[in-house]
Structures are given as structure tokens and as C-alpha cells.
């Protein structure tokens, strides 16, 4: 099978090398056309993300030659010598290439196993190749199958369950505490990058109001303008804390700025309604004992990272289940590929038998010139049905045989029986 996957990823190469071999989105269309020229036909898809650069190709020529051509193209396109990257390169041929694509699309080969972004990237790469008409029946079917396998993996396993970044874990926890984020007020104290990213994640999930607290009133006002919240003076923190359902702290303070006393007072004023406190600062901004207060749930950076790590570990435990689904998908695809080998023979046999039918029909119709048009059509239909019915079973069997044994042997045998010429 002349299907190959040639490339490198975060598993095999450092970032500097991936950067040098990266295909920018606008360069992919010309690169695809250039590659197709170099291969003298065939089909190709270029997948280039921050974690991988891969070329999938299909051609009638043998897989080893195809790999050589793709490798040479990569070197030439990027102005590198093959020696500079060949050590980091992997080359998958035939069913291994199919399996690799299925694993990539199902996010089993990703840096963060189970992340959903890669499927979209594979889909984009496929669409781009389709728009440049550098895709054929085999690569098209291979990518379509990869998408359906990836979907199956996500629905039949927990590979996508649980969040694995600090910001998304925080959002997940907020959803586990509160019914509707739209009715909640988020208070952010300080202006650390991670705090802002967490706030943005909460806002994207519909968090309602924002209170921005900063030691510098100008900075608080500027952030309030950008994010659409209400600026609060740092000195007013104690009086305002009870208004917040979710508190994010990310200041550079070296001692806790929020203590049990603050939360005692806040809880009293808010009728003991629950509070979720996300302390992303190092050193911590919130006294750890706050977590022992009823209705206050405190997560510091360690706790968030631990939750993310646990979720990632849970995903990793699902990998075996996912690989079984992928293997099953590869097996089915390889079977389809094998059955494809006998398709030209099937078409030839069908044409041969229908040719005989038409010749005999012509003779019959010439012998009975008085026959009405209706009768002629009825006889033609009947003979067509007879030929199709006769062909149906042996052709299905032929496909099965091609899957079960070497398709070339099956083809040879069929050609001999029906006297077909090799195409």
C-alpha cells in the first residue's frame, strides 16, 4: 500500500527543529502543489501545528520511494539538508501510517492527551488539501475514517473528560460549586497573567459581574475599562469581599492579604453563601486556614495543578481503551484498501459480461424486428438484471477473498478465469 506518513513531533524533536520545518498556513497551498509535482501525481496532505509537522502521501509507487521523495521535498522546501532533521524524523508506511493518523486525530499522540484542538487542525489540513485538489480517493477515505474514529474515541472513552489546564480546572470547579455563573460576581485581586487568564476563562463561561481590585487605582480602572468590570480600591477590599462569589488572587504580596477574619466577616454579610477562592499567587495571597471555613473552598496553585495532573492521569489510563478503538478502525480501513485492489477487475468483469449481454440482445432484437419498443425495453431490463444477479455473489466473494488473502494472487486468478488483460 503506497500510503506514508513522514514527519516529526514533540516526541522526537526539539522546538527549534520543529520551528525550522514548520509550514505557515499561507505556505501550505503552494507547498502541496509543489509536492504533488515532485511526486508526479499522487496525493498529499500537510499537517503543521506547533507540536508536529507531518506529510501524508499516497502514490502508486512503493512506500520506501515515496518516503524518500517526501523527505527530499521537506529538505528542499525549507532549505535544509536531510542530515539536519533525519534523526528526528519518523516514517510510517501502509497500515502504520493509517494507524498514526488515527492516533493523531484521536489526540492520543498529543502533548496533552485528549485535547480537542488537534482534531480541528487535522480537519483544516484535510480541507486545505481538498481545496488544492491534492487529495485522492484513498487519502480522502483515510482522513474521513480518522475523523469518525476520533469521534468514536471521544464518545466511547473518557479521554476528553476532566480539564488539564489551571484556568480550565478553575472554571470546572466553579461550575461544580455554583448553579449559574451568569449570576455570580468574580473578584480579581492583582493583575498577574495567570489570574487574568483564569478570569477570562470564567467570563467565557458566562460569569456575570467583575470586581477589579488593585493597589494601583489607575491599573484597576484601566483593567475595568478593558474587561468591563467595576474597579475597587484595595483599601475597600474588606468591605467589598462579601459581594464576590469567586475570588481570584494573583498579587505579588509576600504575605497573605486575605485571612480567615476577612472571610468570617464576608460570610456573615452574605448569609453563608458559598465562596470559591482561587489563589494563583506565589507566595500565596490567602491564608491556607481559610479552606477550613465552612462554605469557603480555597484552591491554591498546587491544588489546581494537582487537579489538572489527576485529570491528565485519568486520561492516560483511558489510552488502552482508545487504542483498541483505533486498531479496530485501522483494521477496517486496511480491509477496505485491500478490497479496493480488486475493484478494477470487478469493473472489467462487469463490462465484459454486459458486453456479451448487449451483443446477444442485439442479435435477438434483429431477429424480431416487429417487437414493440415496450417489449424491447422489458427484455433489455430483464437481461441486465440477470447479469447483475449472476455477478453479485461472486463479486462480493472476490472482495472478501482480497481482504482475507494476498489481493494480487486473487487478481491473478480472476484475470485468468475471465481472460482479462492486466491494466
Amino acid at each position: 500500500m503506497g500510503v506514508v506518513a513522514v514527519g516529526l513531533s514533540h516526541h522526537t524533536s526539539p522546538l527549534e527543529l520543529r520551528e525550522r520545518l514548520h509550514f505557515a498556513p499561507e505556505t501550505i497551498p503552494p507547498a502541496l502543489l509543489e509536492l504533488q509535482d515532485r511526486l508526479e501525481g499522487g496525493a498529499a496532505v500537510i499537517l503543521s501545528t506547533c507540536n508536529r509537522v507531518e506529510i501524508y502521501a499516497h502514490h502508486d509507487k512503493d512506500a520506501a520511494t515515496l518516503c524518500d521523495d517526501v523527505r527530499a521535498f521537506m529538505a528542499e522546501w525549507h532549505g535544509l539538508s536531510e542530515d539536519e532533521f533525519v534523526g528526528s524524523l519518523y516514517e510510517y508506511k501502509g497500515s502504520e501510517a493509517v494507524g498514526h493518523l488515527f492516533r493523531v486525530a484521536a489526540s492520543l499522540d498529543s502533548l496533552v492527551v485528549g485535547e480537542a484542538q488537534i482534531l480541528g487542525q487535522v480537519h483544516e489540513a484535510f480541507m486545505l488539501a481538498q481545496s488544492q485538489q491534492t487529495i485522492d480517493k484513498v487519502l480522502s477515505a483515510m482522513f474521513q475514517r480518522a475523523f469518525s474514529v476520533a469521534k468514536q474515541v471521544r464518545t466511547e472513552s473518557k479521554i476528553g473528560a476532566g480539564k488539564v489546564s489551571v484556568a480550565s480546572v478553575a472554571v470546572d470547579l466553579a461550575v461544580s460549586i455554583f448553579m449559574d455563573l451568569a449570576e455570580k460576581t468574580v473578584m480579581i485581586i492583582g493583575s498577574g497573567k495567570m489570574g487574568e487568564s483564569t478570569l477570562k476563562s470564567l467570563l467565557s463561561c458566562g460569569a456575570g459581574r467583575i470586581l477589579l481590585v488593585n493597589r494601583s487605582p489607575e491599573k484597576a480602572l484601566s483593567l475595568a475599562g478593558t474587561l468591563g468590570g467595576e474597579a475597587v480600591a484595595f483599601e475597600a477590599l474588606d468591605e467589598t469581599l462579601h459581594r464576590a462569589d469567586i475570588v481570584i488572587t494573583s498579587t505579588a504580596a509576600t504575605a497573605p492579604i486575605l485571612t480567615c477574619g476577612h472571610f468570617h466577616r464576608a460570610l456573615k454579610r452574605r448569609g453563608n453563601a458559598p465562596m470559591f477562592v482561587i489563589d494563583i499567587a506565589v507566595p500565596r495571597n490567602v491564608e491556607p486556614a481559610v479552606n477550613s471555613l465552612d462554605n469557603v473552598y480555597l484552591y491554591d496553585l498546587d491544588a489546581l495543578q494537582q487537579a489538572a495532573a489527576e485529570n491528565l492521569e485519568a486520561r492516560r489510563q483511558e489510552v488502552d481503551t482508545c487504542l483498541r478503538i483505533v486498531d479496530d478502525g485501522v483494521e477496517k480501513f486496511v480491509q477496505w484498501m485491500r478490497s479496493l485492489a480488486v475493484e478494477p477487475a470487478i469493473v472489467s468483469i462487469s463490462e465484459e459480461l454486459h458486453g456479451i449481454r448487449e451483443r446477444e440482445l442485439e442479435k435477438l432484437l434483429a431477429a424480431y424486428p416487429d417487437m414493440t419498443e415496450e417489449h424491447r425495453e422489458a427484455i433489455s431490463q430483464m437481461t441486465r438484471r440477470i447479469v447483475n444477479t449472476i455477478l453479485q455473489r461472486p463479486m462480493s466473494q472476490l472482495k472478501r477473498e482480497a481482504v482475507a488473502q494476498d489481493p494480487s494472487l486473487v487478481l491473478q486468478f480472476v484475470r485468468r478465469i475471465f481472460g482479462l488483460k492486466e491494466t
Partner: protein
């Protein structure tokens, strides 16, 4: 006829048993399919218990609510209804917490149906009986629901506090949703139980000869008054924010357990100024 009733009752209990197995599988494996099956089996069990209620009604000619077994049939049906009403949509995973106690009630019901021997007193009939007893069991069903929700709340709160947020944690509703369900169940139970006591009081006044002159001193009545006082306190404390979250859940669970314990001790020791039950076995 009575054998048929008993067979239907046992079939109902078996449906609840299977439903509980499904619920436990859901709790351990977190696969929604188990919960779906459990809920369907619970519905089947409830239908069979309803059939028992109808068969008993047809056999006795009065609303069957006064023997222990009959009362438990009503309780199981109402508890299942409360489960379906409060554990749906986002909170449907709570069904897995409801089903084990409902199964215990269903099994106790089968045991009671097999072991009780005398028929219920004929004097206990009429609209007062139907109103008072069904309201009481509806209130108990709400209190049972509140206790079950409390367990789920404490489970969620504990996992959040300890930063263990894997597994079943994600299958259960948010803390705030549980808190709201808990509040609603307490409120409904408290209101229904208050009405139950009022209906019971009127019944005792109207039918003065039935329960004796000092019916209000009966342990059962005193316990009911204590219950309503407890839930009144819990309800109002929640409303003003004095009791909320884990403390509220803990109070509800402890309160319900104490009431249940007192009820069982009283029933076992036969401490009662009057009693309603003691009926012929359904199978006899």
C-alpha cells in the same frame, strides 16, 4: 387474591433491588447507562407497589394505610415520586442516593406483609384517615429526600474541601443546586407535615372516642410535634442564612436519623398510647 398481592409486592421489591444494584454500579463506574436503567426499574417497582395499593384497597374496601405494610407501600410510592420530582435533569444522578433507602423501605414492607397477623381496626377509615396518613407519608418522603440530598451535599463538599475532584464528583450536581434542592425539600416537608398535624388534630377532636381523651400526650404525637419544631427551626435558619451548606446538610441528616431511631425504638418497645396497626398477613 392475597397471594397475588404478595407476589406483586415481592416483584416490586425485586424491581427496587435491581434498581439499587444499577444505582450502585453507577456510583462505582460512573456510567450514565446504569443510572438510566436504575431509574426505569425504580419506575417499574413503583408501578408494582401502586398495584399492591389498589389490590389491597379492593380486598379491604377501605384505603389501605393503617397496617405497617400498607403504610410502607404508600411511603415507598411517595418516596419514589419525590425522587422523580427532585432528581431530574441536572440532578438526576441524585437518584443513586435515593434508591438504597427506598430499597430498605421496600424490603421492610415485604417483611411486614409476611409477619403481621391481625386486620386493621375498622374504626380507622374515612377522609380524615386518607388525608392525615397520606400527607404524613408525603412529608416523610420529603424529609427522606432532604436527608438523601444532604448526604450528596456532604459528599460533594468534602471532595471539594479535600481537593479530590475526580470520579463521581463530576457526575453529581453543583453544591448550590444541591443546597437549593435541600432547601425546597425541607420547605415542602415542613409545610406538608404542619398541615398533617393540623388535620390530625381536627380528626382527634371530631372523632374524640377513637384515640382517647389525652391523645396529645401520646409518644407518637409528641414525636411529631418535636419533628415539626425541628424542621421549622432548620427551615427558618436556612432562610436567614444561619444554617447553610454543610452545617445545614449535617443538621438535616442528624435530625432525620434521630427521629427515625426514636420511631424504631418506640415501635420495637411498643411504647404507644394508642396504635393503629396489627393486621392479618396478606398471604394468609
Amino acid at each position: 387474591m392475597t397471594i397475588v398481592t404478595l407476589v406483586v409486592l415481592i416483584a416490586g421489591a425485586l424491581a427496587y433491588l435491581s434498581a439499587t444494584v444499577g444505582a450502585v454500579l453507577f456510583l462505582s463506574r460512573e456510567e450514565a447507562a446504569f443510572l438510566n436503567v436504575a431509574r426505569r426499574l425504580a419506575l417499574m417497582g413503583m408501578c408494582l407497589f401502586l398495584a399492591v395499593f389498589v389490590l389491597r384497597w379492593a380486598a379491604w374496601g377501605n384505603l389501605p394505610m393503617t397496617t405497617v405494610a400498607d403504610a410502607l407501600v404508600v411511603f415507598v410510592v411517595l418516596a419514589t415520586v419525590v425522587m422523580y420530582v427532585s432528581a431530574r435533569g441536572e440532578t438526576r444522578a441524585l437518584s443513586s442516593f435515593y434508591l438504597p433507602p427506598i430499597l430498605v423501605l421496600a424490603l421492610l414492607c415485604v417483611l411486614a406483609a409476611l409477619r403481621t397477623f391481625s386486620e386493621a381496626p375498622r374504626a380507622l377509615r374515612g377522609m380524615f384517615l386518607a388525608g392525615h396518613v397520606s400527607l404524613a407519608f408525603l412529608a416523610y418522603a420529603f424529609f427522606l429526600g432532604a436527608s438523601v440530598t444532604s448526604v450528596a451535599y456532604m459528599f460533594q463538599a468534602r471532595h471539594l474541601k479535600n481537593h479530590h475532584t475526580r470520579g463521581l464528583f463530576h457526575a453529581l450536581p453543583s453544591l448550590e443546586r444541591l443546597d437549593k434542592s435541600l432547601y425546597l425539600l425541607i420547605r415542602h416537608g415542613y409545610i406538608v407535615f404542619s398541615v398533617t398535624l393540623i388535620v390530625g388534630g381536627i380528626w382527634a377532636r371530631v372523632d374524640a372516642g377513637l384515640l382517647g381523651p389525652q391523645w396529645y400526650l401520646a409518644p407518637k404525637i409528641l414525636q411529631a410535634v418535636a419533628m415539626v419544631a425541628f424542621y421549622a427551626f432548620v427551615f427558618h435558619a436556612r432562610q436567614i442564612g444561619l444554617l447553610r451548606g454543610r452545617k445545614l446538610a449535617f443538621a438535616v441528616l442528624i435530625g432525620f436519623s434521630v427521629m427515625l431511631g426514636i420511631y424504631l425504638v418506640r415501635a420495637l418497645l411498643g411504647v404507644s398510647y394508642y396504635h393503629f396497626w396489627g393486621s392479618a398477613s396478606w398471604a394468609s
